[in-house]
Amino acid sequence: MLNFLKKLSDLINDLVEIFCSVMIAIIAIVLLINVIGRFIFSYSFPWSEELSRYLIIWVSMLITSTLVKNDELIKVDFFDSFWPTNLIKYRAYMYRILMYVLFFVLIKHGWNMAISGKMMHLFSMKISWFWPYLAIPVGSGLIIFQLTVVTLLDINNNFLKRKERHSR
């Protein structure tokens, strides 16, 4: 089960990286074409600004799940030596519990926000606000998934280490 989850987590991580890379490339290309278009043809795409703004929010929400998975978020570890060792050992679990609460709130209320956005439409792109708003619950869901896998793997590793120590 854990192996399956790990594989799924890797797969999702790779997919998210690909999606985010493509979205960043689209933003750069669209904005560049817009500048060139404005100078040469005196024409720019009216939807380019909206598309870029919302794609970058999608990128930010999605890529955070990979930052969580790969433990790439910046933290202040300067005070680690001042805290009791046992507390440091369980620190990650403690703030992960808080993060679960936070991201469940974001899933629930982000989803409600997206649903209420269905009634309104973006000015230039003519699509409903549902799609930009959806970035919040989807990104939060992925963060919770990666957080769960990381936590389960941590627990498993700690369990194996303890077992090894006992067998010695």
Partner: protein, 431 residues
């Protein structure tokens, strides 16, 4: 008010406790809704503020400047830039230390991100300095400290954030940052001169001939043209900062593809992923910090501060002093983006009402929050430089102290002599 106190307490606790900075900001923001009686019913504001905090066209230049820097880095342009600096200042005593500072000064005119500076130039500069007999911790410290200039010399990501939050002219802010950024570089060069005399730093072993110099200048031409294109375009009004960042990406791509010819498809994938990760970290901090910004406004903090200033008859100069100390203290814990989102909208109107130009205040604030990149315990540039050099953070921090002090001296100079910030914007008719 209890909710606000709880928010601040949780933020400080989580940061000291070693939680990731972005989640410390996020969790402290939601604490307000949990603790304040009756606010949980309004928690739907939370995702709304998170979304609107990130939703800005101007912010789009952040990923694009990062992307341009990453392409430059992978293309090999950085090597030419360092060689150019070696030709310019390498012959002096402590030559490579001066090269390190000058390269950051020029690179600052290209990407607008301090950490991009450390990650792009760091590996080259630290290796060169180590090979030349410099203490590796000193090399790492100087690489981190010289990167402070990067986001102050235009183009600048923190200036973009400040301008967007306070509706101030980006062009004027960019110009306001040019002289203070160069002053920080020069102050660091003065420290190097002093240390060279005391510690006997080496100068470049070989002197280059005129022919070699011309070759190096030619090779660095494309890198040197970047700031001219970006700034020229923005100041002349040809394009907006966001469009300038897109042009920068296009320019770097063309130069990398047809001149340097070093980047493969897999390199581009890595570049785009790195850009997405850097951008995600910045945007999420901006988004969550804007929830705390909303909390400050909901608790009427700007009015409370204004009343306290009036009651105690505090002069603008005195307030600037206190605010500088406050930002420097916060910089030990919070990232530059978080500080800007939290405090730029709060203090800019207060200072404007006291007769301090938002451009001057913006410049002071950005210089201040950039110094936080090198102040422990949360000195992101120090962390990165220590990681690259494989030196203990404590040694790097100790070696950085003289440069931190020189940067703080410049900060107070520009605070009390607005002429350093305001001359260029005035000369160009931007204010």
């Amino acid at each position: 008010m209890i909710g606000l106190y709880a928010t601040i307490f949780i933020l400080m606790f989580l940061l000291i406790f070693g939680a990731p900075v972005v989640f410390a900001v996020a969790l402290s923001a939601i604490t307000y809704f949990v603790v304040t009686p009756g606010m949980w019913d309004m928690v739907a504001i939370y995702p709304m503020r998170l979304f609107s905090g990130m939703d800005s066209f101007v912010f789009l230049c952040i990923p694009l400047f990062v992307l341009a820097g990453e392409i430059m880095n992978a293309s090999g342009m950085m090597n030419d830039l360092v060689k150019f600096c070696q030709v310019m200042v390498g012959r002096f005593k402590g030559g490579l230390a001066h090269v390190n500072i000058l390269a950051s000064m020029i690179f600052g005119g290209i990407t607008g991100s301090g950490l991009a500076d450390v990650s792009a130039l760091g590996p080259i500069e630290i290796k060169l300095m180590k090979d030349d007999g410099y203490d590796p911790a000193f090399a790492a410290a100087l690489t981190a400290c010289s990167a402070v200039q990067g986001p102050i010399i235009p183009p600048s990501i923190p200036f973009v954030i400040f301008a967007s939050l306070t509706s101030t002219s980006i062009g004027a802010l960019f110009m306001a940052g040019a002289i203070p950024g160069i002053m920080i570089g020069l102050s660091q060069m003065l420290v190097v001169v002093y240390m060279s005399r005391k510690a006997g730093f080496p100068s470049s072993k070989e002197k280059s001939t005129t022919k070699e110099k011309i070759t190096v200048i030619k090779a660095a031409f494309f890198a040197l043209m970047m700031p001219i294109i970006i700034l020229g375009g923005i100041i002349s009004g040809i394009f907006t900062p966001t469009e300038a960042s897109a042009v920068a990406v296009g320019y770097c791509f063309v130069v990398a593809k047809f001149y340097y010819k070093q980047i493969s498809i897999s390199d581009y994938k890595r570049i785009l992923v790195t850009t997405a990760k850097t951008t995600g970290s910045i945007f999420l901090i901006i988004g969550f910090a804007s929830v705390i910004g909303w909390v400050l406004a909901a608790e009427n903090i700007p009015a409370i501060i204004s009343q306290a200033i009036e009651r105690n008859n505090i002069s603008p100069y005195m307030l600037l002093f206190f605010v500088n100390i406050f930002f420097l203290f916060n910089g030990m814990w919070l990232s530059d983006a978080a500080q800007l989102v939290l405090f730029a909208p709060l203090f800019t109107p207060i200072f404007a009402a006291m007769g301090v130009s938002p451009i001057h205040f913006g410049c002071v604030m950005v210089v201040n929050v950039m110094i936080s990149m090198i102040t422990p315990p949360y000195g992101a540039a120090l962390y990165l430089a220590a990681l690259i050099s494989k030196e203990p953070l404590v040694n790097v921090t100790k070696a950085a102290l003289p440069f931190i002090i020189s940067s703080i001296v410049v900060l107070f100079l520009i605070t009390y002599f607005p002429v350093f910030c305001m001359t260029l914007p005035k000369l160009m008719g931007l204010v």
